[in-house]
């Protein structure tokens, strides 16, 4: 018997399914027919060189930015065709950690974390307080509940944003560069938190990051994105040993390889004026 059509019928094990995603910004093709499956209850990392479209991919997944073509299904819902209200209903079940934290600067730490609760649920103040303090305790910032965002360091802001992202125990959490600006202690705690959320609550996590050492400690599956395509995917250990030039360059940090280190430019000597001297 033939298996089910993957696009029309996402399997029970796949929470997010992307097919034929194509995005062009100006003259640059960001995605050229990307296909990926995010398994339910697992931690999936999307890695790739700077500017390859990792954040754009997260914005496509949440309907913040429309793609030029392709299909994105989250828990059976076709994101590209959802109405604004349906999109909001879906987002209530998604936590999103922004690259720059995006805390509301007029509110203190407590109110920032409580914001989604206050907006969507009519809970007694005591329960709101307990939930918020529990989440802040998880990220080690219960004592900073009364501080304003301007009084926090970048790493602390990231942890507050993380507490806000998980405040409603979402089914899917999208982390955009969660490890940037964290000291080793906070990094360990955040890694443990991401893993714990998956292991205890069955939350599905997608994280976009550069740090392979951190990703390898927490991710079940890694997609490597480069040149508008998924060039490799698999468990971190498998990718580390993958012999393809993409993985060898990215994980080895080599300047030479399929991903150019230099942004396209004129000939270096011409730019420096040596060509004129020679003439």
């Amino acid at each position: 018997m033939p298996g089910p059509e993957p696009i029309a019928e996402p399997t029970r094990d796949v929470l997010v399914q992307v097919r034929g995603l194509r995005t062009v910004l100006g003259r640059k093709t960001i995605f050229d027919g990307i296909e990926l499956d995010i398994p339910r209850g697992k931690v999936t990392a999307v890695m790739g060189p700077s500017g390859c479209g990792k954040t754009t991919l997260l914005r496509h997944l949440t309907g913040q930015r429309a793609a030029d073509a392709g299909s994105i299904r989250i828990d059976g819902a076709e994101v590209t065709r959802l109405s604004r209200q349906a999109l909001f209903d879906l987002r209530e079940r998604i936590g999103y950690l922004f690259q720059n934290s995006a805390l509301l600067t007029d509110y203190d730490v407590f109110e920032n974390v409580a914001f989604p609760l206050r907006q969507h649920l009519k809970l007694p103040e005591e329960i709101v307080r307990n939930i918020v303090l529990t989440k802040l305790e998880a990220v080690g910032l219960r004592g900073a509940a009364g501080l304003m965002p301007a009084e926090l360091s970048g790493g602390m802001m990231r942890r507050v944003a993380l507490a806000r992202a998980i405040i409603r125990d979402p089914m899917l959490i999208l982390y955009d560069e969660p490890f940037v600006g964290l000291d080793p202690i906070a990094l360990n705690q955040v890694l443990r938190l991401i893993r714990t959320l998956n292991d205890t609550l069955g939350v599905t996590s997608v994280l976009v990051a550069h740090e392979f050492s951190a990703v390898a400690r927490v991710a079940d599956l890694v997609y490597l994105l480069a040149g508008g395509k998924i060039v490799a995917h698999g468990p971190p250990q498998q990718l580390r040993e993958d012999p393809s030039p993409w993985t060898r360059q990215f994980f080895g940090g080599e300047a030479d390889g399929p991903v150019p280190f230099q942004y396209p430019a004129r000939d270096y000597a011409t730019d420096l004026g040596f060509a004129q001297v020679a003439r």
């Binding site: 949440t62 909001f88 987002r91 922004f98 720059n100 995006a102 600067t105 989604p116």
Partner: protein
Amino acid sequence: MSTPRPWAGIGDALARVGAHGLFLLQILAALPASLRHYRETVRQIWFTGAMSLVIIMTCGLFVGMVLGLQLYYVLSIFGGTAALGTVVSLSLYRELGPVVTALLFAGRAGTSITAEIGLMRATDQLAAMEMMAVDPLAYVAAPRFIAGVVAMPLLACVFNALGIFGAHLVGVSWLGLDNGTFWSNMTSSVDVWKDVVNGVWKSVVFGAVVALIAVFQGYTTAPTSEGVAYATTRTVVFSSIVVLAVDFVMTAFLM
């Protein structure tokens, strides 16, 4: 052949007017949802209204004092200084109160609304709200729009009151005009509906215009420091032009 620039400029201006109109419709559509955020609306009325009181009261006082001084001089030429209270109050109620308050409101509250929303855009706070399934139009844009519509007429009334007080200070306390004459001529010549209420209507419309422009400029700003700076400037420039243009149209219809 490329399109001549003047026509392109007119096209851009019309497109901008259309974009403001569409944005107004979006805000109006978000008004029911924004009622849930009434505390935010009250906070914005306090921020745009109460926080503007000092500049409005100060300017109202000085505008009234200058009016009193100038008009006393002009009226004294014709021996009509007794009409000072009438002329000052009619000038303030019908024109100067709503218009000058709107221009000050654009400079004080409009710019801060634009800069605040623009920075929220630049720092992804609006995107974060969207991701938390909170509509920024209902939570950010609509409360500030309502605040402008509510605060402007109240501020215009305060401006008028302080203006008349300033004219009284100059005309009666300083230049020796009879106090009874000042007030009795004013009360007998000013019509509540024709003069005072029409002025209030103007200020309501001006409040809506300034708030709409301020919110739109902030909401659609380029997410850079330069983008926020340009948007803030555009708020003052566009608000001033549109307020004066709308004032002419409304005056023509309300006369």
